[in-house]
Symmetry: D4
Subunit: 208 residues, 8 copies
């Protein structure tokens, strides 16, 4: 086993957030809503924190699928925003692919709703074109566990790497010493157990 470890690198990575729309989110039932909301915002926050180029896209947002959730719009006011008029696979949309290629990055971090369509289709297309694809599994959601499992397997078989927002953050950061407070703030805002560790630690050490 000696093929090189394809490791996320903050100078090489871009983030694609696909179809986190107010209507479509009501379809997500393989992950509890409070947890899912937290995971999506954690991914967005880390994209911001690591200054990764980020691309937003939506499907048919003037219809029942609904608008992009406002939190994402607010976090990335200047990001490319491709409201696809009809293409289901975002990679079928020329503007989207142009925006991706304009980042000049080879590593694509993808999350979206629903997993087997909005995530899997562009992931498979990007792999075919030679990109390294990292799926953020816990910031992607779908109808149920059976649907999720099938989607994961199809992407994996094609070479996608399955990750989670926490793993992505850690692999990008590499070393706590690069910025202890920044990473700790990210974790504190999105991992209640970690926030508690920090609270207890700070209280005890500030007493000294």
């Amino acid at each position: 086993m000696s093929k090189p470890y394809v490791r996320l690198d903050k100078t090489q990575a871009a983030v694609l957030l696909v179809d986190h729309q107010a209507g479509l989110l009501s379809l997500v039932r393989d992950i509890e809503p409070d947890k899912f909301k937290n995971n999506v915002l954690a991914l967005a926050d880390l994209a911001k924190y690591f200054k990764l180029p980020t691309i937003l896209t939506t499907s048919f947002e003037s219809g029942p699928n609904g608008p992009l959730v406002p939190e994402l719009k607010d976090l990335f006011p200047d990001a490319p925003y491709i409201a696809r008029p009809g293409n289901i696979n975002a990679w079928d949309n020329e503007d989207f692919v142009k925006a991706v290629k304009a980042t000049g990055k080879k590593q694509l971090i993808i999350a979206g709703v629903v997993t087997e369509v909005c995530v899997a289709f562009p992931a498979l297309s990007a792999l075919e074109e030679g990109f390294d694809v990292f799926v953020v599994a816990d910031a992607s959601g779908t109808f149920n566990e059976v649907t999720r499992d099938a989607a994961w397997r199809r992407m994996e078989a094609a070479g996608a790497q399955m990750m989670t927002w926490f793993g992505v953050a850690c692999e990008l950061h590499r070393d706590w010493r690069n910025d202890i407070e920044g990473l700790a703030a990210l974790f504190s805002n999105h991992i209640p157990d970690y926030r508690n560790l920090i609270t207890a630690y700070s209280t005890l050490t500030s007493k000294k």
Copy 2:
């Protein structure tokens, strides 16, 4: 079946938040951390919103149980705060009982960590003294489902009413017309699915 329906009334109710401490929270495993954090803060927000007298208490907070989570301290800076030096049942602490009785309220809304001790013990004591007790089940946490079930059954058998933060908010509010925006904001901040309904609705109606 004709005994009167004991219904929460915002002029009659007080809120007791028992031992939501940074250390003790690591023991809670019957409910997922993101959801639990949200539920506790939702209960705190509704106490604030309905201007219910609220009492904070902690157990042995200078030791491993850790400090009260800062969000609760910040939300209720002027609330009675009883840091119990050792009593496990908050009701065994005279200051706590005095603070409860000083509210002049007969309906006690209780939540805490862990359910079978920090919630159940004062709930049973308060019932014995003739209070109406409403346990906020989803803002209380413990080791596992077996532990939770045993705790619920003991409290119920003694006459406690099992509720959740959403039910408490609705029973206190009575009528949307009392304040549509206020209640909608509470739900939007703590129920992602409800926030999505509001986002989709606002987007469509603002286009008109």
Copy 3:
């Protein structure tokens, strides 16, 4: 143990369908959507089949809660339909209570969304006024299992009888001989396993 068995009787029963609205349904996560839709329609169909007076009500339907699902409107075009302007507990609405009392029935079969509010509040109020209350547990939905459990326990403690649509249908029908085809059609339309039994049975017996 000798208190009388309070048994559903088709001459004594009315059905209350509370807040099955397009928006609120996205909050239901304690029961899978295909199953829940089927259960609600099965209850509606049985109400129709047994000619039970049925009352429809909605909460604030011009806002994000959304309209009543069209299937229910279509099934009961002439039923009393109380679009509550703001009361959360349907029993706080005079028109609703009048409509209930106008049926002249003493047995109330209730289902709705969400269980701990839209079902539990009117159930508790009706019990207080001396009605016999039968909650259709599987045609009522809410946020999660913890919420559901708390709601069931509160209603039960007040004297509500927990049932399901199938139990309601069977207790009302009493004897297959009253109408074999009608009951079989109801089951065939709403229980896939039962439909398969009928398919296999019919195929074999028609060959004779």
Copy 4:
């Protein structure tokens, strides 16, 4: 707490097996089929072993509900067998009630398919007439956990005692010394883990 413990007594008890029919069994999904089959046969075997009067009944067995499973017919060739022409609640059938009363027993052990109808209805009727009712929960099955929970709660609230076949066997037997081999055989045939204990024990002790 000093009301008498209503304890199963082999001289006072009869067994009612309700609607374990080949068709209806396909509806049972709250318990895995291999386990359910084992539990029903275990209950039948213990009825036989303790020589309890046993009554078989079926609902509309010439139709899609299908015939009684042959194992039960074979085990109780001389038992009263009431093929109800249409009554859903077995207690509405005069022949069934006569057969029950003819046993002269006051303790009724009931199991059947499906729990909320075929078990709950006669259980509630029998309780109303003053019988002591013991529901064998694990030899009764229904559509899903929600349905089962609702059924258990309704029966319990009316005074039924929830048991399982193992508890029934132990409460009837009272003392191993009454017949060690008989009880051990019953357990060995229906509890794989117990059979393994016996196998290991016998192998070791027979070597001595």
Copy 5:
């Protein structure tokens, strides 16, 4: 990773529905019956909608396995229908293979009951002959999760792509603009949450 993405194409695909028979369906316990029925009919409806050549086959349908469910017969009155006299693997039946090859399609979309036999065997045979195989995981059912997992792994290891009916529909449709109403109708009929989005959307926009 640069092997081409094998993507469903409506001009290249055929659908094989294997052994959805009234008797065999009682064996399916890895997926809830209401959901499973919906998924199978959704797959059938999409086959119809995209005008994909569809082939029906059954195993030994005059015996206990029972007849094909009538809904499928009714939807595809003119489809090749191969009632296999005994072959367990449909691919062992010459008429079936001829029918498949007569479609001239290279992409086979397969679903059936039970997954590890009626789906897996022809899937493995078709892969061996060079077809691209897409398994519709949620329209295929079997005894339990262990059985399902083993079946999925065997097919995947041989090169089958795991999908679900929703993913199949989306990958075939490519672009909403090809027919907005048609796709929306398919989703509305088979995804209750999506129907609710459409209901809420239509109500609000029709008011304008």
Copy 6:
């Protein structure tokens, strides 16, 4: 609601450990073995710590049920030990009842294997004789969740209080100040999360 709160009191309580035998333990499947072992030993340790009179009993231990687990024998070398020759309900054994009564305690804390027999039977008998019964739910085990639920409901209906070892310890101790180190040691030995809190706390405070 004003009946007195029956509260565990270390001067009034005795512990009954029923049938924790090496063979019978292989039947326990409603709780994971590592957790169950920990809970039983935690209960034993707290009995020791609070110096509660403790009674050991076994059923037919020379046969396949096997010997009492050695840890319990070692912890209570001088406790009454009743190896019942055959009585299934320990309360049917005169020596056992004598030993219980000889403690002079009115509050009985019971745990054992299996829950619906070895715990439930003596619990029901003791309640009938006027004892207060506290069942330690998580130090009692049985075949599966259905069996456990039925057992809990039967005991509860008869007036038993459902508790867990942690709740028992806390209710007996009343106040941390009675012995901080003793209680902390009990928790540290049996709650890994609590041990971690202590480890982190001690490390930080010892650095000061």
Copy 7:
């Protein structure tokens, strides 16, 4: 995808039953005992039915692991029986490998207890020597789901095919017409739902 489909063939296959011992079976907790017992016996019955050479082996059976379960000994009185004196991996035992090779078969069907050791080790060794290995997943058991998953993945990565007893039976039989009664009897004895189909079918057709 054109590698040949490695298909079970009754002239090429042998069955290896590894360490189904009375003691070791108490370790199996990833599958319910009634179901597991049924699956193991179903595999044994099919080995018998298809006259596959079968090899029995045990590990250290004079110690706590205990004797082979008597049912297997009784079914295969003349099969090679290798009581390994100490080798954990059966393939490390020369007699076992000799017995396997003496069958002259290239396809090995393996099941045992516990999955990650007694099944995985010989499976990996046999694959290394060029055998085709078919693991009967549901007749193999282990400590929990995490353990099972890890074991499956390791075997799969090495090329083992994951199957279940039902899939094995169907792939070996090929065509119902080879022996309808024999296969039906096998299914009837080990699949309660299938037995019910046969019962219902026979009852209806025998009436003609």
Copy 8:
């Protein structure tokens, strides 16, 4: 399938225990705490028992992550202990890699907290450098099942072998005759069911 079986060999293997720290352990929620503690200590005990070179490492242990759990420090007082000042991937720390290489072993057995970071990152790095990597799945923990699954799949795709502590012990030991008492003691201390088998066995055989 003829690639060689890469089998653990006690002369070739080293153990890496990564970040089992008092703070980080509060993040582990995919495995119950009592079971997880047992698994980690079982792995440590087997490392000791087989005299495998063992390396301890921690991440930022003076901060909220907290100190290494004292049990591990006590078991390996002389092991290389690399308290990483900031590197998240242990393999990025030169001292750690030096310590690994100094063992001269090619087979690395890795466990840690959390799985997708502290285990996966060094596992991927070690695989890239040509080591054989064996992940001890049940002595590694993380936030939830989704996170765990993604981590397992990424490591597996890169060539890691998934194992459990029991499998590791068995594969290293090879033959019970190498040391019956030693292996039995390891199992008895960490597998309650196995301890019970030994207790029952010893009791019966010592009576002879």
